[in-house]
Amino acid sequence: MPSPRTVADFDHRRFVVGLSRGIAGALLFALPMFLTMEMWELGFYIDRARLCLLLTVNVPLLIVLARRIGFERTSSWREAVRDAAIAYFLGILASTAILVAIGVLRLGQAATEIVGTVALQAVPASIGALLGRSQLGQHQDDKDEEGSPPDTSYAGELFMMAVGALFLGLNVAPTEEMILLSYKMTPWHAIAVILASIALMHGFVYALSFSGGHGLEEGTPGWHAFVRFTVPGYLVAFLVSVYCLWTFHRFDDVDLVEAAITAGVLGFPSGIGAASARLIL
């Protein structure tokens, strides 16, 4: 636990910089979605129960994410809840500001349209706000933190993969291209994409030697990592894809095989996102 701060030694500059980084992160992550037509339309017609579920699921997601990386390197769940709340608020703020600035939201629109559109965009924006704090600014300010980061648990690793899958997957999930591609592709294309996604995920983390890449302890066969991390990672990415597509009404009244192919298409960017998360986060 950090020593309790008094009002006097509260670092205003650091706090403001933290909030600004949150806004920057929200923009970085969510700007492609702010500029996607389907996302505006979804705000109008998305089933309110699904929107409500998405908004609710986002809360524990943000809290766990804040616990791991956050506005301040959080040391307790209470602080994680606080940071998650700030991130959510910044996400709503950034969404409203951008949507008004680009003319998607205007005075005189029905309140339910405005609320729906802002709420939908606030989800990726709030995740971006949390990531922004940790990924945009960690290296200069946080030198005072001593020691190396703690071990990442297996569940933590899978969780970060889910966040990475959301990161890339959410950007493309609402677009019409996802369903159009599944209509253009034959099932054989879909199988090839699924296999290629898994191979690329493994390559990203273990073979290409990016900084942040993972290695294996001496004497461990390569397939161990494949079975323990890459394949579950793909499953996580696939399930995240399914959830996104269902939320965005892409599975309504659709044949199950067709739905699986669509999820396989989205599983490709989601899988790359999941693998990248292991390198970056």
Binding site: Y183, L195, H224
Partner: protein, 136 residues
């Protein structure tokens, strides 16, 4: 467990059994997914979509007479840009003809929509049919 010691992380060689179980479950799931899509791929495809329309009901409203319908595609071929034409017929003569377009009617799937007529379809014969589509 993963030991994070930047810049390179190392996977431990003595993992917990839950990691193997997760891996195993994932492999089974992915193989099932591939097998299922592959099994579907081996089955026959249809050369063209098979579109049929079912009228759900008519609602009289301020602007006109709102006819809701459901369009189903029974074939294993997706139709894009499906044009649906609705006609109110008095014998052979069309009293009113209106159209609407569906972006997609996927294979083995349904979509629904509505046509809004100016004249009351009751007492006349109402014909709603798909008149064209493109391959996606």
């Amino acid at each position: 467990m993963t030991t994070l010691s930047n810049p390179k992380s190392t996977e431990k060689s003595n993992p917990h059994w839950i990691e193997w179980l997760t891996g195993l479950v994932s492999i089974v799931f992915i193989l099932a997914l591939i097998g299922w899509i592959g099994w579907d791929a081996l089955g026959p495809r249809d050369p063209a979509p098979e579109l049929s329309i079912r009228i759900l009901g008519t609602i009289g409203e301020g602007a006109g007479y709102h006819v809701r319908f459901e369009i189903a595609n029974a074939a294993k071929a997706t139709a894009a840009g499906v044009v649906v034409r609705g006609q109110i017929l008095d014998g052979d003569r069309a009293l009113e003809t209106i159209e609407t377009t569906f972006d997609y009617v996927p294979m083995n799937s349904t979509a629904s929509g509505g046509l809004i007529f100016r004249s009351d379809p009751t007492g006349h014969s109402l014909r709603i049919s798909a008149v064209g589509y493109s391959d996606p």
